[in-house]
């Protein structure tokens, strides 16, 4: 039986090389080997999405991939969302719109949101709800999570006024209703 294998992976732009057992799950690698504990473990059954990360830009559940499979791949975790000391617009929006209560699902929700806005910069509410349907929030805070993603979409489009002002609150509901 193999003992360990070498893995070289880019995480949040930095290169890491480590020797790991093939059976080590990617989420354990991120948390225990690299110390990136922003990626959470929720259900351990591929349901909850708390361990969501981006694999080459695509959101996946890092509890359902082996670390050795990430060799030569590029990953983004919640720790990689900030740049130059500035919060990512989605982080700013989750803060302003109260898009979290306990915070457990938040890293996964934000990474799913980032990927959604990358592929669909002006998503309808229905698209947002579909996109986050693999990320469970047990505080039942979906309403504000949706608002936060809508708010981030506006901020990224450069026509937002709610993110840095006091007007956050409920103005997300009237927009993005679509069909």
């Amino acid at each position: 039986m193999a003992t360990t294998m070498s893995v070289s992976v880019t995480v949040n732009g930095a290169e890491y090389t480590a020797d790991v057992e093939p059976r080590m799950l990617l989420v354990h690698f991120l948390r225990d080997e690299l110390g990136l504990t922003g990626t959470h473990i929720g259900c351990d059954t591929t349901h909850c999405g708390a361990c969501t990360i981006l694999l080459n830009g695509t959101p996946i559940k890092s509890c359902t991939m082996f670390a050795v499979q990430a060799d030569a791949q590029a990953l983004t975790t919640v720790e990689g969302l900030m740049s130059n000391g500035e919060l990512n617009p989605i982080q700013e929006a989750f803060k302003e719109e109260h898009g979290l209560q306990c915070g457990y699902c938040t890293p996964g929700m934000m990474l799913t949101g980032v990927a959604l806005l990358e592929s669909s910069p002006e998503p309808s509410e229905a698209e947002i709800r579909m996109a986050i349907s693999g990320n469970l929030c047990r505080c039942t805070g979906y309403q504000n999570i949706v608002h936060a993603i809508q708010s981030a979409a506006r901020a990224m489009a450069g026509n937002d006024t709610s993110v840095d002002g006091g007007a956050g609150g409920g103005n997300g509901a009237s927009e993005g209703g679509g069909e």
């Binding site: 193999a2 059976r23 082996f66 050795v68 799913t112 349907s133």
Partner: protein, 291 residues
């Protein structure tokens, strides 16, 4: 939860995969999208001594129409099918199903071939491929065979594939005029297993009569099931309401659901009838629009 230890291989070509399968036999498992295998390994329901990762093998990711077929490589991800305009335009049964498999994050990793050979009767692709009358290309070291989808499933989680065989291709007949299909799935919530699913695919001839019909059932038997008698009710009919209802009744008779938290046998059997009717009506509408 930590899987049992295993040897990991990531071959760079199919011959190497086949050699590993020959060498390790039942001890080896192919790792495709991993969305069923890895959870099973975490629960120690599966403890393969050797894992052969086939991610990144381009030949297994083929996805194109050619030679009268739509070729779907076994490593094509559910999300690729769901996001394909070609599929949405010409293979609506495929896109219907791809959009309701598990959840969006699982769809980004899970693969068509991995799901098929996992042979979970609650898996959506089994019934879809039965409705399309798909064929699989199956390779082993030094040989290749074509396997009709009807000969794949033996029982729950068991297929007719030998331990040294790898599915290298899946193909369905290329869409033509007068064809339409639809998938109907009843589930309690996103990501839950289907309570009942029904896949239907029909062809209308120039005279408006049904010249081909495929009906596959999800989660109502030990395997994905073909509702052959229901298909027979449609053939030669004008796909009128009475023929659709007769087919729906036959489909319900073909099912053998078991009671669980999702419903009683009677309920599920009746849902087969209801969903078969809905799927057939949508298939007919789509077939007429494609005529």
């Amino acid at each position: 939860m930590i899987p049992a230890a295993f040897d990991y291989h990531h071959p760079s070509d199919i011959d190497e995969v086949l050699a590993l399968l020959d060498e390790h036999g039942w001890e080896a498992k192919i790792l495709a999208g991993g969305q069923s295998l890895i959870p099973a390994m975490r629960f120690r329901l599966a403890e393969p001594g050797t894992v052969v990762d086939v991610n990144g093998l381009a030949e297994l990711e083929r996805f194109e129409e050619s030679d009268g077929f739509l070729h779907i490589g076994p490593m094509v991800r559910h999300a690729t099918i769901a996001g394909s305009e070609l599929v949405r335009d010409r293979y609506p049964l495929l896109s219907d199903a791809a959009e309701v498999i598990a959840d969006p994050l699982v769809r980004n990793r899970g693969t068509v071939g991995g799901s098929l050979v996992h042979a979970d009767p609650a898996g959506d692709w089994g019934s879809v491929m039965l409705a399309y009358r798909a064929e699989l290309t199956v390779r082993r070291a030094g040989g290749e065979r074509t396997l009709p989808i009807d000969e794949l499933f033996l029982t729950t989680f068991v297929t007719s594939l030998e331990p040294n065989e790898l599915v290298t291709g899946i193909r369905i007949p290329a869409a033509s005029d007068g064809e339409g299909g639809a998938y109907e799935k009843l589930e309690r919530k996103v990501g839950d297993f289907a309570t009942v699913g029904v896949a239907t695919q029909i062809t209308l001839a120039d005279d408006g009569k049904v010249s081909a019909a495929g009906i596959g059932l999800t989660a109502v038997g030990a395997t994905s099931l073909r509702a052959a008698a229901a298909e027979g009710e449609l053939l030669g009919s004008g796909a009128e309401a009475a023929a659709i209802e007769a087919a729906a009744v036959k489909a319900a008779e073909a099912s053998s659901p078991t009671a669980d938290t999702r419903g009683s046998e009677e309920y599920k059997r009746d849902m087969v009838r209801v969903l078969t009717g809905r799927a057939l009506r949508r298939s007919v509408d789509r077939a007429r629009a494609a005529s």
